[in-house]
Symmetry: none
Subunit: 139 residues, 2 copies
DNA sequence: GAACATTTCATACTAAAGTATGAGCCGTGT
DNA sequence: ACACGGCTCATACTTTAGTATGAAATGTTC
């Protein structure tokens, strides 16, 4: 992360120097004045262009260090056990498989899922998963 | 599309004028010389920054930097219609809802889903959705 | 044009998912 | 102590989802 900031900082500095250079050459009416300005301009545009990509990829990188949206979880009144069910459910497991993983009965899982559906205002588990992801409460 | 090109063209022109202006003011050693250059530089970076977004979003089939993994789709022998079903299915819709959206019967959707499950080696639609996302064939 | 994949649909199943209701247990807090 | 929320489970039921099979209409490819 610091590496990227450093890289972009250096690039920005370089472009700044280029601009300054063109300033001086303009004052001196050098041959390369217009040329240098053009290069600096193109460089700056490219800088912004690439910057966006890095910002986007690096923020999606931060999604890997996934922190569930606790606010939303509390707002929807989703309990910790429901969260566990939701997480395993999103992995594509059936109710019985979830039950085995959490050491409870299928009935219990069904109850949790049913509660999750109403809390997430979803009609199906697929819809619940989609919404939960949109809310950032699961990855 | 032309609208966007026009907009960006105008913006680029404006930035060019700004640069030229700063050139002149530098020659004249005006108070605003450095200031103008800085504004032009920031403008150019912003230009590139926004440009990327527009290029990506306006090339429509590349939404949010997402390009479906065509190689994987072909490898798994998933047909175009199956892809459509998969996409809508991942949005959390039921078979009947998918059928309505694609103007086919529920039977047809069931067939497609069933084929998708075997092709994706999934036991349930939730698992299929998860795998499809991992493979990068849906977002 | 014959072979082949795709898309469509139906029928008849079985298997899951989801709903509704009631109930017992366990902590926490008033 | 008692109310409350969370977790557990069961039974009974309805609704979807998923499988199997067959079949017909399209394209596509060699």
């Amino acid at each position: 992360m610091f590496k990227i900031i450093l890289r972009f900082g250096l690039l920005a500095l370089l472009l700044g120097i280029l601009l300054e250079l063109s300033n001086y050459s303009i004052s001196n009416r050098s041959y390369y004045s217009e040329f240098l300005v053009a290069i600096a301009a193109v460089g700056l545009v490219a800088f912004g262009f690439v910057l966006r990509k890095y910002i986007i990829t690096k923020t999606s990188y931060l999604k890997d260090e996934f922190a569930p949206n606790e606010r939303k979880i509390q707002l929807l009144q989703i309990s910790s056990r429901e969260m566990e069910v939701l997480t395993v459910m999103a992995e594509g497991f059936s109710n019985i498989e979830i039950a085995d993983k959490l050491f409870v009965s299928e009935s219990t899982v069904k109850t949790h899922v049913s509660n999750l559906l109403s809390k997430l205002e979803a009609k199906r588990r697929t819809e619940a998963i989609k919404k939960a992801k949109e809310y950032g409460i699961i990855k």
